[in-house]
């Protein structure tokens, strides 16, 4: 193991607690030391990998495989049940774009809120405002309430904010799916440029995007790493597996 890592996961596992009755949550909180009121649902198990500076790592996997949870763990939004996650530098999460927007505020006002949430100083945001407006490419809608935006416009604005945070690690969760091709192109170019100064962690279902951007791919299946390796090889295997395994609901199984 080398020392120039930006993200290092060692034997990380995450179990969510599944409660039969809603109020058992409170019971667990109060009397948890005496009795266990829940069932464990392991979303991730024994995940170990390292990401180096300048790498762009793609994550592939089927719905419910644990991709988003992995990203949340790396961001520190939720804590792992066991194992250790270390990260270096500032993280900018582009998760579920635009869902944190206040619908009644204008785009400009949301940039102020969103920027502050991402850790930017007010003066810095104001300085970057024009550049953010230009990157988003939503024209006059920038000064209109976000409730009048289309989902694509909201995504544009959200990505524009994240693109202006001086991050060391950019974490992107299926963010580009909503934008049109022109905007996707712009984002992909941004990500490509970003690799020169930082690390990208990128979830996508698009084999094309993964192949064109990523230097390495992590394939997650049922909460465990199935394979890590060369993008072209992994996407090929992944798609082959999809055809073979079909889409059955037995995958979403709670319990052991």
């Amino acid at each position: 193991m080398s020392s120039d890592w930006m993200i290092r996961c060692t034997n990380v596992g995450k179990a969510y607690q599944i409660y039969a009755v809603y109020d058992h949550r409170l019971m667990q909180m109060l009397f948890g030391r005496f009795k266990k009121f829940y069932q464990d649902f392991w979303v991730l198990r024994n995940i170990s990998f390292e990401v180096k500076r300048g790498e762009c790592v793609g994550v592939m996997g089927r719905n419910g495989a644990g991709k988003t949870t992995l990203l949340q763990l790396i961001c520190g939004i939720t804590e792992p049940t066991h194992g250790e996650i270390l990260t270096r530098g500032r993280i900018a999460p582009v998760l579920a774009l635009g869902s944190a927007f206040d619908l009644d505020l204008t785009g400009r006002e949301n940039v102020l809120v969103g920027g502050a949430v991402l850790g930017l100083k007010r003066a810095r945001i104001l300085k970057l405002m024009n550049s953010i407006q230009e990157f988003s490419g939503i024209g006059e809608f920038f000064d209109r309430p976000v409730k009048f935006y289309s989902s694509g416009m909201a995504a544009r604005l959200a990505f524009a904010i994240c693109a202006h945070v001086d991050a060391d690690i950019l974490i992107i969760d299926e963010a580009l799916a909503v934008g049109d091709e022109a905007f996707q192109e712009k984002c992909l170019k941004f990500i490509d440029d970003f690799r020169a100064r930082g690390t990208v962690f990128f979830v996508s279902h698009s084999a094309k995007q993964i192949e064109s951007l990523c230097s390495r791919v992590i394939w997650i299946e049922n909460g465990a790493v199935r394979e890590i390796g060369d993008p072209e090889e992994i996407t090929r295997k992944y798609q082959k597996a999809l055809v073979q395994e079909k889409d059955d609901s037995a995958r979403f199984h709670i319990g052991n």
Binding site: Y16, Q17, Y22, D23, R25, L26, M29, Q72, C75, G76, I77, T78, E79, P80, T81, H82, E84, I85, L86, T87, R88, G89, R90, I91, P93, L95, A96, S99, A100, D102, D104, L105, E109, L112, V113, A116, V117, L118, G119, K121, R122, D168
Partner: protein
Amino acid sequence: MSVSIKTKARVKVAAHRRGSEKGLVHFLIVPFYNALQYRELIRVVLGRELYQRFRASYFGWIWAVLTPLLMLFIFTAVSSSILKIGGDTEVNFALSMFIGLLYFNLFAELMTRAPLLLTEHVNFIKKSIFPSEILAWTSMLRSLTYAGIGFVVYLAFQLYIAGTIPLAALLLPFILIPLFLLLLGLVWFFSALGAFTRDIAFMMAAVMPAFMFVTPVFYTVIGQPLEVKLMAYINPLSPYVEMTREILLIGRLPDLMTFLIAWCVAVVVFYAGYSFFMRFRSVAVDVI
């Protein structure tokens, strides 16, 4: 189970997750240091909330001034004509009632909102790296803004009616600081608890109206029988109402014992609330 999440921007956050290992001074400073560190964010979230309150109204902030003013006029009118309290006391009664109500409203607004605080900001918390402990500060500052307007209206009214505000009013901050600590502690406690079950929110809504009568809003504790005193003093809010009345209406320093007990309770609640919140914060994220 060793968890350590370290980033440049978050080192402090990660550090006080293991706060108890770092000694007493660290434990005492952390809640304030934390708020200072996120002051930009607190300001933005607060600004957004204040803006939201009057967004769709024509008169905006005028309402915030008009509401307490109207209440003061009605109190004075009611206490002079219906309650038939004559002379100087009628004004005092209205002012005294207003102080009680000011504190109660502040308390009630914070407590009814606290259990829903995390759910309200779920998008920030789950979709972004958001220090959820600052929500108690923003929520408190928001309520304080309105209470503050009410308080200024009150002072103006007293100055107009009675012609003077006692010099002792300068000592008010010594009472308000423990009050704020107490409220923050309670908000932290109930917001963490409220994330686990909605019952806390329902309970608050049910209990608050009754709580109004346990708080000396329409009466004063001094000179009441022991049972009333006991009932009122179980309520953490009562000493503050009483002390403020003593300072503002009578111009007298409050009872030292009451003052010290209030401080102690406030400090304990503050740190207990903060520790409780920080302890259950990461679990709460997974259930909201």
